[in-house]
């Protein structure tokens, strides 16, 4: 039995040596044996596979299939009346058309889609949309005014998550009516800026569903909502073949696609790969064509590898510190200014985010109408201390900062704690899960909060209202900032018919918030998506739901 006794340990030794060989850092030699691997206990070392210079590999995935690896755990439903998360909006956008849409990279002027033209009354209250003739749904049914009316009324009747986007001006189904088979009239219940209304119509909530197909699957008056969770009934470039939860979305080309005959890709597979390191391996190996969620370090690392490209774009997503004005001493403007002058913005952007953000200090993000590029705040401890002394707090004060325990929030919170400490402000960091944090935040129950805000649709209103208007009970209200000037201006700007004047109003408003608001805006996020270089027409998209996959193709070379 001696031979057999020897076999197992020998195999183990060989396996151990092999592992040791591959994980040994280059240059150290292959002296790593089983025993060195054994010492790995306690805190696990971060696995950072080193990039080797390999020749540009050929395409490993089928040329007519796009494979995207990303974290899709946020997806709840693909029913346009419910879809409201990044993943579900991204997928839904490939399945449906809307009356109007944006075309990248222009996110200021909307383009016709299902509606070939439109007109509105001088007061901006009554809109008429003329539907393009000859559009067919994937089912083969023609798309008519009935479908448009049905789809928009459906959102109002169901009152699901995504309803909040149109809620301010579309409250009753009667506001949407059919004029004839190819004309729809919409009456808004208050004047909103045309650019604002059209922008909202580009959001996936306004997707046009095939009323006949949806009604055929309706159950207990749910207008097909349960069925639409993981089925599609649209006229978009793709049809949902299947959604295996926690696993993948499979999209097939719509053979009836009216815009181009049919999309270039036959299949799009969106794989749920929650672990960024897995995504890194997949894109390096070429088993995924696009990955979305690499960390800043991983992007830096993969960038040097031939065969891959990094697509960067400033997303409409800002991180800020909210200061509850109802909490002393945050009610004093000097104190809020002092906090803004304590923070080391550059270090947060460069050292923590490492390229995944830009410094941005106003509330309307870069890329939108009325974006204000001013960055007056910088780290100035002396000035901050003077401001604190002037406010009557020469020795500083104690305050609680609440944040979710996720990367990079916790790193930023720690950095801010250290920054503020130098000005004498003693910060206690309070971590809670996002759901707990927002529960308290909604009840005005936080002191300092480190949070994020993303625009729903490409229009400044989504941010301006939230940050300025306490009456709608969003961010201004949550931070107890009852400023009528800011609230009025935000409301006026949302109803301004003239684009130029509207832009000026937002510039004024963002200036005002910069000086008086209860926020320290830290940065605007930069999306860094990594694609194989044979993927063509994957355009940088600040929203992630405007990108139209019907134009994407895979071509080696050129």
């Amino acid at each position: 039995m001696t031979a057999r006794d020897l076999a197992l340990p020998l195999i183990l030794l060989i396996v151990g040596l092999a592992i040791g060989y591959f994980i040994a850092p280059p240059g150290k030699g292959v002296t790593t044996t089983v025993t060195t691997t054994v010492t790995v206990t306690g805190a696990p070392p971060a696995v950072t596979p080193t990039v080797t210079t390999t020749p540009a590999p050929e395409m490993r995935t089928p040329a007519d299939t796009l494979i995207i690896a990303m974290d899709t755990s946020d997806a709840v439903s693909l029913d346009p009346a419910r879809a409201y998360e990044f993943t579900s909006c991204f997928v839904t956008n490939q399945l449906y058309d809307k009356l109007v849409d944006f075309e990248l990279p222009d996110l200021i002027n909307v383009k016709p889609e299902v509606a070939e033209r439109w007109e509105y009354s001088p007061d901006g209250l009554v809109w008429t949309f003329y539907i393009r003739k000859g559009i067919k749904f994937a089912s083969g049914n023609p798309l008519t005014a009935d479908d448009v009316v049905y789809s928009l009324q459906r959102v109002i009747k169901l009152k699901q998550t995504a309803y909040s986007v149109i809620e301010p001006f579309l409250k009753s189904p009667e506001q949407i009516e059919k004029v004839d088979d190819y004309t729809v009239r919409i009456r808004l219940n208050k004047t909103v800026a045309p650019s604002f209304f059209l922008s909202v119509l580009t959001f996936t909530t306004s997707s046009i569903v095939d009323s006949k197909v949806v009604e055929a699957h309706a159950k207990n008056g749910d207008m097909g909502s349960e069925w639409l969770t993981d089925h599609s009934a649209g006229s978009g470039p793709f049809v949902l073949e299947r959604w295996d939860r926690e696993s993948q979305f499979v999209l097939r080309a719509n053979p009836n696609y009216w815009k181009t005959g049919q999309p270039i890709l036959k299949t799009v597979i969106i794989k749920h790969v929650p672990e960024p390191t897995d995504q890194l391996l997949l894109i390096q190996k070429g088993d995924a064509d696009v990955v979305i969620d690499l960390t800043a370090d991983q992007v830096k690392q993969v960038e040097k590898q031939p065969g891959v490209k990094v697509v960067r774009v400033e997303r409409f997503q800002n991180r800020y510190i909210g200061m509850n004005v109802a909490v002393k001493p945050l009610d004093k403007e000097e104190v809020r200014d002092a906090i803004r002058y304590c923070i080391d913005y550059d270090s947060i952007v460069n050292d923590i985010l490492k390229g995944a953000a830009i410094k941005w200090q106003t509330v309307v993000p870069k890329g939108l109408l009325g974006a204000n590029p001013k960055t007056p705040y910088y780290r100035n401890v002396t000035l901050a201390k003077q401001l604190l002394a002037k406010a009557g707090y020469p020795d500083g004060f104690e305050i609680e900062l609440t944040t979710a325990p996720t990367y990079p929030a916790i790193d930023i919170a720690t950095k801010i704690q250290a920054d503020l400490a130098e000005c004498g402000i003693r910060v206690k960091i309070n971590q809670m899960t996002a759901s707990m944090m927002y529960e308290k935040y909604r009840k005005q129950g936080l002191q300092l909060v480190l949070a994020q805000w993303g625009s729903d649709y490409p229009d400044p209103d989504s941010n301006a209202m939230a940050f300025a208007n306490y009456r709608i009970r969003q961010l201004a209200w949550r931070n107890s900032w009852y400023d009528d000037y800011a609230a009025d201006l935000a409301e006026k700007a949302s109803a301004e018919m003239d684009l130029k004047r509207r832009e000026e109003m937002y510039l004024t408003l963002t200036d005002y918030i910069l000086d008086h608001g209860p926020y320290a805006m830290l940065y605007q996020e930069v999306a860094q998506q990594v694609i194989r270089d044979y993927v063509k027409n994957w355009l940088p998209d600040p929203t992630f739901f405007v990108l139209d996959l019907s134009k994407v193709s895979k071509v080696v070379g050129s």
Binding site: D5, L8, P9, L12, L13, A18, I19, F22, I23, V34, T35, T37, V38, V40, P44, P45, V47, P49, T61, T65, I67, V76, R82, Y84, E85, K159, Q160, T161, Y163, S164, E167, T229, D244, R245, E246, S247, K271, P274, E275, D278, L281, L282, K285, D287, T433, A434, S435, M436, Y438, E439, K440, Y441, R442, A451, Q452, G454, A466, I472, R473, Q474
Partner: protein
């Protein structure tokens, strides 16, 4: 007491345990100051919308009323509806559980295949180098974090050497067999789809090794200890003195007795593999129960969390019961008491 009464008694006891778990998970999840509706709706939602949807889901009712509602539903086998997936929790569990069973079972096979032989070798070569190597190997198993080992193996065997496929249950190009049981191996066998079968097996290899290796450590150690103890007993000496070969002594006499504690450990380990697959499932993008429950937990999806907990508890208790019954087959001296 005969076997049937014993099983009945254990089942009744189990019902109490499960009820206790329902009570605890229900109240714990309802007392924590988190808001599932807010979590689903995100930071943007207006307070009015949050209130409206909260009413729709019945979360505005007093906790005890919600509890009674839950119990009534539960008695009908209804676990409620998941806030996150908008589907009955039962349906979700049935959807996600097979992937985990498949992973945990094959991990168990790996664990047993590594653990028992290694334990035997250790015991018969006690304090000699095979014993030391096996101890080190077992120690590595418990001390290497699952996700670290998983990533290393993916890096070496998938990325560097290309010997194994990447994360997931199947390659994207491979057509999935129609879903019958949800167990991919079984389904592809039923459909006669051998491409899917071999692809699925291949995908299963790394995660089950990672998970199984972790579990093999305790099996190795317990087998070794039990075997050593048995080998010192008089009946082994008697067997040896009768002139039986070492092989017969070992496999016919010693091992059968030594495997009793090992069986317990295997039973317990299986339960913990089912719930402990979370990290492995994350690393290998494995759409199983572990991932479902983490997702549910993070979005405070009460009903889903409670359903998953209940299911795991049920399996734990059943595994325990089965282990106890198996005892009797392995060792007739054990009485049910």
């Amino acid at each position: 007491m005969d076997l049937r009464t014993y099983v009945m008694r254990r089942l009744i006891l189990m019902a109490f345990v499960l009820f206790g778990i329902v009570v605890i998970t229900f109240f714990v999840s309802h007392v924590i100051p988190a808001d599932p509706i807010g979590a689903i709706l995100g930071p943007q939602a207006s307070p009015e919308l949050v209130e409206k949807i909260r009413r729709e889901w019945g979360f505005d009712k007093p906790v005890h009323e919600q509890f009674i509602d839950y119990l009534i539903k539960l008695s009908k086998g209804d676990l409620g509806k998941s806030i996150r997936t908008n589907k009955p929790v039962m349906e979700d569990l049935l959807y996600f559980f097979p992937a985990t069973i498949e992973l945990a079972t094959s991990a168990m096979v790996v664990a047993v295949a590594i653990g028992i032989p290694l334990g035997i070798v250790s015991a018969i070569k006690k304090d000699r180098w095979p014993d030391h190597v096996s101890r080190i190997f077992a120690l590595m198993g418990v001390s290497m974090p699952v996700f670290w080992l998983g990533l290393i193996l993916l890096f070496v065997l998938y990325y560097k050497l290309g010997l194994f496929p990447g994360p997931g249950r199947l390659d994207p190009g491979v057509p999935e067999p129609p879903r019958v049981t949800g167990l991919l191996l079984l389904d592809s066998l039923l459909a006669g789809n051998f491409e899917a079968l071999s692809n699925a097996l291949w995908h299963l290899a790394l995660p089950s090794f990672v998970l199984g290796y972790y579990a093999s450590a305790s099996i190795t150690r317990i087998t070794r200890a039990a075997l050593l103890e048995v080998l010192n007993q008089d009946f082994i000496k008697a067997a040896r003195s009768k002139g039986l070969t070492e092989r017969v002594v070992l496999f016919r006499h010693a091992l059968r007795n030594a495997l009793i504690p090992t069986t317990t450990v295997i039973g317990m380990t299986y339960g913990s593999l089912l719930e402990g697959a979370v990290l492995t499932e994350t690393i290998f993008a494995w759409p199983g129960l572990g991932r479902y429950s983490t997702g549910a937990f993070l979005s405070v999806d009460f009903l889903a969390v409670m359903g998953a907990t209940l299911l795991i508890a049920l399996i734990y208790s059943l595994a325990n019961l089965i282990v106890d019954i198996l005892y009797a087959f392995l060792d007739p001296r054990i009485r049910y008491a």
